[in-house]
């Protein structure tokens, strides 16, 4: 520890360079922190225990639907307090780039999801208007929609049975606003009556996309999920009951193996970082050869000089890395908040910190080993003579 001021002095020798290096390390570990959050978010579907809403979907594919008749059987499972259901309805508004997030929802949907902030009056208006939809404030504001407007949507999958066309014309009967900032992402959605959707789409009725089951006691969620899946075991529509988070992720997982993508990005970033800082450290040692020779003259052993340079490298990476990870920790909730819950990044846990710190030490060691070796092998008489 008493040698620390020597390391500090070495780092302060070129403040600008040290600061820039620390910043690049910081950026790399900030990215590591955020991406690790993404990776964790995508790999952990969350545990069933403690969750009061369960999503029952096809075990095989999220695009495979379930028979409507299953809803009542799920409702009859002991511990299930309330059931509702929904279907995904793909479509765009005017231009293909305006892809809308549209769900056809069953009755009682808002009882299961108070998060939407849909008032009883709005829910009533929807229920009593066959072609009615409720639009979230975000999407309504974006396109300037108001209650009472007609809303033409081009369906991407489902043609309208009565017109034979893919254009569906809805009536906006309300614009809802999520009360909590964390749920702002819900305001991107458009919700329509499942009953209308079911009758009017050309692909036949009686199908629901997924069923939502609200349980009475979250402590028993795991057992209830098992009981629900048992209902359709060995049928042609076997189900998988999961947390909402996991269900949402299965949509995102359609994009690809996020874990692999994240690992590849982190790998590339750290490869670059190691080349950069490795070069910086090599340069830093080259410049300090007379000083290192002086230390050896005074009686520092080769091993001590090696340790000094090695320590300098590890310390440099640790400073930048810890700052970066701390910043990521601070930013996570802000990203989650700013995205209105669209991006749900988990707080950086002790596992990520542990992994991050291990990574810092590893990078510092890899980057430091060659310059440290060079410093160790330095011959004093040659260095003193400037050879």
């Amino acid at each position: 520890m008493k040698y620390l001021h020597l390391i500090r002095a070495a780092l302060m020798r070129r403040k600008t360079r040290t600061v820039l290096t620390i910043l690049s390390v910081l950026a790399a570990f900030l990215l590591f922190g955020l991406l690790d959050g993404v990776r964790v978010a995508f790999n952990s579907g969350g545990t069933l225990a403690g969750v009061d809403r369960l999503v029952v979907a096809s075990r095989f594919s999220i695009i495979q639907s379930l028979p409507e008749s299953l809803v009542n059987r799920v409702a009859a499972v002991p511990g299930v307090k309330l059931t509702t259901w929904a279907n995904w309805f793909g479509g765009y508004y005017r231009e293909q780039k305006n892809q809308m997030i549209i769900f056809a929802i069953g009755p009682d949907y808002f009882q299961a999801y108070p998060d939407y902030g849909v008032t009883p009056a709005m829910a009533d208006a929807l229920a009593t208007t066959r072609t009615g939809v409720l639009a979230g404030k975000a999407v309504a504001d974006r396109f300037g929609w108001k209650t009472g407007d007609k809303l033409p949507i081009m369906g991407s999958i489902f043609p309208n049975k009565s017109t034979g066309e893919t254009t569906w014309t809805f009536d906006i009967v309300g614009v809802f606003q999520a009360p909590q900032a964390a749920n702002r992402a819900l305001e991107q959605q458009i919700l329509l009556n499942w009953k209308y959707f079911d009758e009017a789409n050309a692909y036949g009725g009686g199908q629901v996309g997924w069923i939502v089951a609200k349980v009475a006691d979250p402590k028993h969620s795991a057992e209830i999920a098992q009981a629900i899946d048992a209902l359709s075991a060995n049928s042609d529509h076997e189900t998988k009951t999961q947390t909402e988070q996991e269900f949402n992720l299965s949509f995102a997982r359609q994009i690809g193996d996020i874990g692999l993508i994240v690992t590849a990005i982190i790998g590339a970033v750290f490869f670059t970082l190691m080349l950069l800082t490795g070069n910086t450290m090599a340069q830093a040692v080259r410049e300090r050869i007379p000083e290192l020779a002086t230390l050896k003259t005074i009686g520092f052993t080769d091993a001590q000089v090696l340790a000094l340079v090695f320590g300098e490298s590890v310390l440099l990476i640790l400073i930048g890395g810890l700052l970066g990870l701390a910043l990521a920790t601070l930013l996570m909730p802000i990203v989650t908040e700013a995205s209105g819950g669209m991006i749900q990044l988990p707080p950086i846990g002790s596992r990520s910190w542990g992994m991050g710190i291990a990574l810092m030490i590893a990078v510092g060691a890899i980057v430091g080993i060659l310059p440290a070796w060079r410093a160790m092998r330095l011959r004093v008489v040659d260095a003193l003579a400037g050879r």
Partner: protein
């Protein structure tokens, strides 16, 4: 007086590719305890080479050197480093201070290798700086000091662990006359009052006058007087 440094039949050769150049030829020399020896000679005659061997910075090709009874030519790298830390102080032409550290911290550096506490290190360095008359410059960095002042800081650093032997390679080579005199006066005081044995390489006859005697190196061999 007993010999502090005993050099016997010492040779040093450097190998450059296939060529071997012998820089020192069979040098035999005793340096007594309390001596202030000046080493003179033309450029390339091997003065620095000999001084580095005496200070344990390099190892000879053949022959022996013992300092205070220790055969330093037989010590390995790590043992030699530890021996240097305890027994020799070095003073160079260009001071070789660490540019990022204050005078005080520079003087403390050799003490990092001892068991002294931080407070003791600070205290000893303070005393050493007082000795070289730079107590008021303790907080200055080398760049904020004149050449003569830097060399005095280097002297304080060289004596901080109380070595018996000081080796100086052209300590006044980069100084003006007045600063040189100050530095030489200081070396004289250390030699006379503290009993330091000093070996000083110099090109300057006036500097050599401060020594108790002078030896000349000529193409790697000691000669009695200059040609």
């Amino acid at each position: 007086m007993s010999a502090l440094v005993e050099i016997r039949d010492l040779s040093k050769a450097y190998t450059r590719g296939r060529q071997t150049v012998e820089v020192l030829h069979h040098v035999t020399l005793d340096i007594n305890e309390g001596d202030f020896l000046a080493l003179m000679g033309p450029s390339g005659s091997g003065k620095t080479t000999l001084l580095n061997l005496i200070g344990g910075l390099d190892s000879p090709s053949s022959g022996s050197i013992s300092v205070a009874g220790t055969r330093i030519d037989q010590l390995g790298g790590t043992a030699l480093a530890k021996w240097r830390a305890a027994h020799v102080g070095f003073i160079f032409q260009f001071y070789n201070l660490l540019p990022m550290l204050s005078a005080q911290k520079n003087v403390e550096v050799p003490l990092l290798l001892t068991k002294l506490s931080a407070a003791q290190r600070r205290q000893n360095a303070k005393i050493a700086l007082q000795l070289v008359n730079l107590a008021d410059r303790a907080a200055h960095k080398p760049a904020e000091l004149s050449g003569g002042q830097q060399q005095r800081v280097a002297i304080a650093r060289a004596i901080i662990s109380d070595p018996a032997l000081l080796v100086c390679d052209e300590p006044t080579g980069d100084l003006d006359r007045q600063s040189a005199e100050e530095v030489l006066g200081l070396l004289q005081v250390l030699n006379r009052e503290q009993g330091k044995t000093i070996v000083m390489v110099t090109h300057d006859p006036k500097a050599a006058d401060h020594a108790s005697h002078t030896l000349h190196l000529e193409k790697g061999s000691l000669v009695e007087s200059p040609p």
